[in-house]
Structures are given as structure tokens and as C-alpha cells.
């Protein structure tokens, strides 16, 4: 399930990845990786979930305490994506669960002086997509 996925060499899942694993690591040009790497965070994670009127899971209170409202959703998407790309390229991420869905990573993210982990899924060809907007503060 990691075929075509990019990792910084010093921060790569340990092999073997699974029973009967024949996966191989292939070096890719840093310049090529930089061109292809893209982070995606869907705006509905903020508009329909975090800032939902229904107070679903404590995240609305948290983000509002940091000074954000639903009107900041696009700004937050841009910040998440931009910070995720930089951290991923630098190898500054923590390897988390590897399962049938793929490899998840935790990326340090900073908003208004508050630093925490956000969760991302690694897809092939340099794409990472946000899975968790707040995974706990980094002390």
C-alpha cells in the first residue's frame, strides 16, 4: 500500500512492512520530489465539522479560544497545507499507524503560537491529505 509514496530517507517506515514483503526503497531526485509534493486539507473539515454549531467534539471551543471562527476556514486550510508541505519535505514528521489504508504521519503545526500535531495520510506521488486537524499539543 506504500507503492509510490515518498519519505525522507532518515524517516522511513521500518521494513519489512508486512508479511511476505518484497517492497524496495527507490531513491528519487529531491528537486523532483519538491515539485510534486502537495498537501490537501478539505475546507469542510472546518466549515462542517470543527466550526459546526453542534459542538461536536471540543475542537470548536479550542479553535475559538485561539481566536478563530468559521470565517477563518480558508486561511486555516492554507496554513495547514503550507506548513505540512514544509515539514514533510524537511522530514519533520512522526510515523504513526501503518495499516490497510496506508501510512499516517503526525506533523507539527503552529497556529497563533500554539503548536500541536495534525494527522496526515501519505498517498503516492508526493500527495499528503489531512486526516486529523488536532491530534494533541506538543509540550
Amino acid at each position: 500500500m506504500l507503492s509510490g509514496c515518498y519519505f525522507v530517507k532518515r524517516n522511513i517506515p521500518k521494513q519489512p512492512l508486512h508479511p511476505n514483503c518484497h517492497c524496495k526503497v527507490k531513491n528519487i531526485n529531491t528537486g523532483k520530489a519538491k515539485q510534486k509534493i502537495k498537501a490537501m486539507c478539505d475546507i469542510s473539515k472546518f466549515t462542517d465539522y470543527i466550526f459546526s454549531q453542534k459542538q461536536l467534539n471540543g475542537k470548536k471551543t479550542l479553535f475559538e479560544s485561539w481566536g478563530y471562527t468559521i470565517h477563518d476556514s480558508q486561511y486555516l486550510v492554507t496554513e495547514y497545507e503550507s506548513q505540512a508541505v514544509q515539514q514533510y519535505l524537511s522530514g519533520n514528521y512522526v510515523l504513526k499507524n501503518l495499516d490497510k489504508y496506508g501510512q499516517r504521519i503526525a506533523i507539527p503545526t503552529t497556529l497563533n503560537g500554539h503548536t500541536f500535531y495534525s494527522g496526515w495520510m501519505i498517498y503516492p506521488e508526493g500527495l499528503i491529505k489531512n486526516t486529523t486537524t488536532f491530534g494533541g499539543k506538543i509540550k
Binding site: 462542517d48 465539522y49 467534539n57 471540543g58 475542537k59 499507524n97 490497510k100 489504508y101 499516517r104 494533541g136
Partner: protein, 163 residues
């Protein structure tokens, strides 16, 4: 039409629709014949959902791409299992990525991740795998600590929350 050709269904009939097929679904020819072929169709949204159906060759379009040899070998190894999907109906998709859902059933396998009935989460992956969805149930408490996790849940254990 040749064995292991990748094909796309270009014409839908009532009979095909009964098995959950739709225009544009892709499949692999396993038993070619002159007028009709048996094709294993693979769901676009569930990575383990497939059905094995006879379709008319003129309802199919052969794609230019060819299956890699490693995939052909994998299919040959699993041929009997694939053929058991004979005339199985592809199930409708239950949830989409970014759907907000509620866990409606307690289970030990969820509790070990701190996820319990009533918790709210968001579907975090565009595909299901055998009707299991990856859902982010992480919840922030008053002291800003986090309970819950991003876990795999069965479609029957969650329900969609409307906006």
C-alpha cells in the same frame, strides 16, 4: 477481447444495473469469448468489492493500459476467490470522505482506542475496504487533552450526521 484486458463498461443495461454496475466502471476480462466475456468488475470506492459478470463485448471498451505481470500473477493466484463473486451485487456506497458520522455501537475493538458509542467523527479516507471506513474520532477535552483516535469502523456501526 483478450484475457486480462482492462475494460471499461460503456453501455449500461437494466440487467447490469441490477448488479450495481454503472457506466464507466472498470474491470478485467477473465473469460473472453466471441460475443460475451466474463469480467471481474472492481468497485471505484471499496477496495475489496468486486463482481464477476458476463457482459456483451460491444458494451465494453478496451483500455490502452495493460496489467503489470505481477498483478496478472496475483489474479491467477486468487482466480477461484474472484470467480466466487459470480453475479454478486455491488453494494451502494454508504459514506464519503469528510462525512460527519456518529458511532452508534460500542465494541471492544473501538474501546481500546478510546472510542465509544455516541462519539462524533469525520470520514478520513476516500475509499472503504470491505465496508470499513477510516474515521477520525479524536475529541478534545476541557484541559485540551485528546481522547479517541483515527480508526477503522464498519459501515453498520456509524450513521451520518446531517449538517
Amino acid at each position: 477481447m483478450k484475457k486480462f484486458d482492462i475494460v471499461k463498461l460503456k453501455h449500461i443495461t437494466k440487467e447490469y444495473a441490477m448488479y450495481g454496475l454503472y457506466e464507466g466502471i472498470h474491470g478485467v476480462v477473465l473469460e473472453p469469448d466471441s460475443k460475451e466475456s466474463k469480467v471481474i468488475f472492481i468497485s471505484d470506492y471499496d477496495l475489496e468489492e468486486s463482481t464477476y459478470i458476463t457482459v456483451y463485448n460491444n458494451h465494453l471498451e478496451v483500455e490502452k493500459e495493460k496489467l503489470p505481470q505481477s498483478i496478472i500473477e496475483e489474479i491467477q493466484k486468487n482466480l477461484k476467490r474472484l470467480q466466487c463473486q459470480d453475479n454478486k451485487k455491488l453494494q451502494d456506497r454508504e459514506f464519503f470522505e469528510n462525512d460527519v458520522v456518529e458511532l452508534i455501537k460500542d465494541d471492544e475493538k473501538y474501546k481500546t482506542h478510546g472510542v465509544t458509542k455516541g462519539m462524533i467523527g469525520i470520514v478520513a479516507y476516500p475509499y472503504s475496504i470491505n465496508h470499513e471506513y477510516l474515521v477520525d474520532f479524536s475529541t478534545v477535552l476541557e484541559d485540551e487533552s485528546v481522547v479517541g483516535d483515527c480508526i477503522s469502523v464498519h459501515a453498520s456501526d456509524i450513521k451520518k450526521i446531517e449538517k
